[in-house]
């Protein structure tokens, strides 16, 4: 290996570098846990936080503390961690290979002497889980849990796998969210309710139109949600319909796209609005489910009325506010203008009324549900990485190898050198048990 490469490797494998990298990653993640991150905080909440923490708010703006995970500094830390882990994994594998397959003289360890010959000693050790791993000039080597040598190698390899696979997921993932009302069809060209995609991912669109036929939901006696499911129809061509269902924890896969049932659902109200210019328009007002029959669900609609007028809505699924079993909703609309309430209007299906210059008519209503569409590659890599990490940890902490070397003595007996490669004092009982077992064998002849 060229000299420069060796110094780079030494730098990344230095225990100080490794410790610094772990501490930097830890500091970055802790910072992101303390400062609200823009990808998971609404702009309004972010403004509130900045107003409450003026100093941190200023630093957050200039240092990018509100976007730690997409900050070049964090990418640099991750890259450093990945390079260090990659070198370390290689080193650990070479070491584990050497320990597993190239036996060396054991210079330290406890020494036992017995009058027994090599054969019976080996038999006794094998019965205690020691596996023969090599022989050299009459000296036999045995190891209990030889896979324990590979613990660190697997642990580091797993972390490399997780980082690489997570990077692939982050760069290529496509994710779209739809909130559809019952009977509504979403065309592939229509925009998503919400969308996320990786830097290298193309725009996400469905392979064909999709219609939400039915939303099925049920409640526990205490009004908590028990189950949510949707029946969907895929419309790949004229006169072709493919009906499928999806529910929470029962994922639907269609042409490589995984479809998840969201926990959010409620009722959509179709309201005809006639404005001051006598122009009629039908709006779909989606409100999330109520938490209890007597507690209304609220939503605010900014783009319905225009002219600085805000439409607020609340609803009860049972107008009598008694149960979730009876579907006879009451929708209450309220118009605010310039921060002042103009008026309120209760509506039942088919009824109409006015608030200020606006006339409203409730045409119909129906349930809606949230569906999550995901297309990503790399997940098996992430989970495989996690599994390898766990396997490595289990090998390292649960099965430290115990080595035994059996040498023949000139008097026909044997000398046994024994050591535990890690946590030695934890296994002194094991050495004592071997001694007792050999003494018993000697006595029994």
């Amino acid at each position: 290996m060229p000299h420069d490469m060796n110094s780079i490797k030494r730098f990344f494998l230095s225990r100080i570098t490794v410790l610094c990298l772990i501490c930097l990653a830890l500091a970055a993640i802790t910072l992101a846990a303390l400062v609200p991150q823009s990808f998971m905080t609404s702009p309004a909440d972010m403004e509130t936080w900045q107003a409450a923490h003026p100093l941190l708010g200023r630093w957050s703006g200039s240092l990018g503390l509100h976007r730690v995970y997409t900050h070049p500094g964090f990418a640099l830390i991750l890259a450093g961690v990945a390079v260090s882990l990659a070198f370390s994994t290689w080193e650990q594998f070479v070491r584990a290979w050497r320990l597993s397959f190239a036996r060396r003289e054991m210079v330290d360890g406890a020494i036992l002497r017995t009058a027994l010959a090599g054969g019976p000693v080996m038999k006794r050790l094998r019965s205690r889980g020691y596996l023969p791993v090599g022989e050299n000039a009459g000296v036999s080597y045995l190891v209990r849990h030889p896979w324990g040598y590979w613990g660190n190698a697997f642990f580091h390899l797993g972390m490399v796998l997780v980082i690489v696979a997570s990077l692939l997921v982050a760069l290529t993932q496509q994710r779209g969210v739809l909130q559809l009302g019952e009977g509504e069809t979403h065309e592939p060209t229509a925009p998503w309710t919400d969308e996320e995609k990786g830097l290298l991912a193309r725009d996400f669109s469905l392979p064909c139109p999709i219609r939400l036929d039915r939303v099925i939901y049920s409640y526990w006696p205490n009004h908590a949600v028990k189950e949510v499911a949707s029946t969907l129809t895929f419309l790949p061509g004229s006169n072709v319909e493919d009906v499928r269902s999806v529910q929470i924890n029962s994922i639907l896969t269609y042409q490589g796209i995984r479809i998840y049932q969201g926990i959010e659902f409620g009722h959509a109200f179709y309201v005809e609005v006639t404005g001051p210019e006598n122009r009629e328009e039908v709006f779909q007002l989606m409100l999330e489910r109520q938490k209890a029959p007597e507690i209304p669900s609220y939503n605010t609609f900014r783009n319905v009325l225009g002219n600085d007028a805000l439409l607020r809505a609340k609803y009860y699924v049972d107008a009598e506010k008694r149960t979730f079993d009876r579907i006879d909703p009451l929708l209450v609309l309220r118009v605010d203008q310039g921060g002042r309430e103009v008026g309120q209007l209760p509506l039942r299906v088919g009824s109409e009324g006015s608030i200020g210059p606006y006339r409203f008519r409730l045409l119909r209503f129906g349930p809606w549900s949230r569906l999550i569409f995901v297309s990503l590659s790399g997940m098996p890599g992430v989970f495989l990485g996690f599994l390898v990490i766990c396997l490595g940890g289990i090998f390292h902490y649960f099965t430290p190898p115990r080595e035994a070397m059996v040498c023949p003595c000139p008097d026909g007996g044997s000398e046994i050198r024994w050591r535990a490669t890690r946590f030695a004092t934890f296994y002194t009982d094991e050495l004592a048990a071997i001694r007792v077992s050999l003494e018993a064998e000697e006595r029994n002849g």
């Binding site: 225990r15 490794v18 410790l19 772990i22 501490c23 990653a25 830890l26 993640i29 802790t30 992101a32 846990a33 991150q37 998971m40 995970y69 997570s166 997921v169 994710r175 526990w220 006696p221 205490n222 908590a224 949600v225 028990k226 189950e227 949510v228 529910q247 929470i248 924890n249 994922i251 995984r258 998840y260 969201g262 926990i263 999550i372 995901v374 997940m379 992430v382 989970f383 996690f386 599994l387 990490i389 766990c390 940890g393 289990i394 390292h396 902490y397 649960f398 946590f423 004092t425 934890f426 009982d429």
Partner: protein
């Protein structure tokens, strides 16, 4: 209180009684060198564990979900798993016996705290109906149990290193051994914590298509895991040991408690349903 809840509370209190007897006998046995009392304490703990297990199973059958929704269920199952894991380790590695002087009171404390909450029946949100959630929670509990054992050894080390003249401390293993046991059990805790995060990410991916969402609970769990990683790294490569290692572990343990019991109360977390 209905009949079923009364039966559950009654069996739980019987278990509490056994744990109290076990804790007192263990402390007396350890401090005053009463071997019979110490031996008896493990018997009392075993009986308590059996009764406690029966209470948890009975409640599981009534509410229709595992002990991970209501605070009383969470703390009670934490106590059960801590005692079960300790007794299991005691069987495999008898050298961990001295930790009982801290593990027994810790178990008693957890179950006592659980009885202060109303054992109301909580309904299971639909996303909680996955087997991966059961693994996710079970491994965090096992991790907590091993960390309690590691804490016990760290505290015993600190106590022994405080130059006390107490005779019972002299009967404890050598400080170097206590230090090593703490290290070993911290390693177990680190691994089980990692497995719990893995199970959680599989659960999340199966429930809403995201294996990691930087949710506050997830983030603090990762932070805790990394802090344990720093502890283990310092021990292995920087030969951190003795008093400094013991105090560092106490800090790690406090972080683990914050991760498990405080962050899940954050309203912005999807975990807020749990332990409400």
């Amino acid at each position: 209180m209905d009949r079923q809840t009364t039966v559950y509370v009654l069996i739980t209190w019987l278990a509490v009684f056994c744990y109290v007897v076990g804790t007192i006998a263990n402390t007396v046995g350890m401090i005053f060198e009463k071997e019979r009392a110490e031996r008896g304490s493990y018997g009392a703990a075993l009986v308590g564990l059996a009764l406690h297990g029966a209470a948890l199973l009975f409640w599981w059958q009534i509410v229709g979900h595992g002990p991970y929704m209501a605070p009383s269920e969470v703390l009670s199952s934490d106590a059960w798993i801590t005692m079960a894991v300790f007794l299991l380790f005691l069987r495999v590695y008898p050298r961990v016996k001295p930790a009982s002087i801290i593990v027994f009171p810790a178990v008693f404390l957890m179950i006592a705290l659980s009885t202060m909450y109303n054992p109301g029946i909580r309904s299971l949100p639909p996303t909680f109906g996955s087997i991966w959630l059961v693994f996710h929670i079970a491994f965090y509990k096992i991790s907590l149990a091993t960390l309690v054992v590691a804490l016990a050894f760290s505290l015993l080390y600190i106590r022994k290193g405080a130059r006390s003249s107490a005779r019972w401390l002299e009967r404890l293993p050598e400080p170097a051994s206590l230090d090593l046991y703490a290290y070993r059990f911290a390693g177990f805790g680190f691994i089980f914590w990692g497995i719990a995060m893995l199970a959680g990410s599989i659960w999340a991916y199966k429930s809403w298509g995201r294996y990691w969402g930087w949710d506050p609970v997830e983030t603090w769990s990762l932070i805790t895991w990394l802090i344990f990683g720093v502890y283990l790294h310092l021990r292995r490569f920087f030969r951190l040991s003795g008093m400094r290692a013991a105090w560092f572990f106490v800090f790690c343990f406090v972080m683990a408690l914050v991760s498990l019991f405080v962050t899940s109360h954050m309203g912005s977390s999807i975990h807020a349903e749990y332990f409400k």
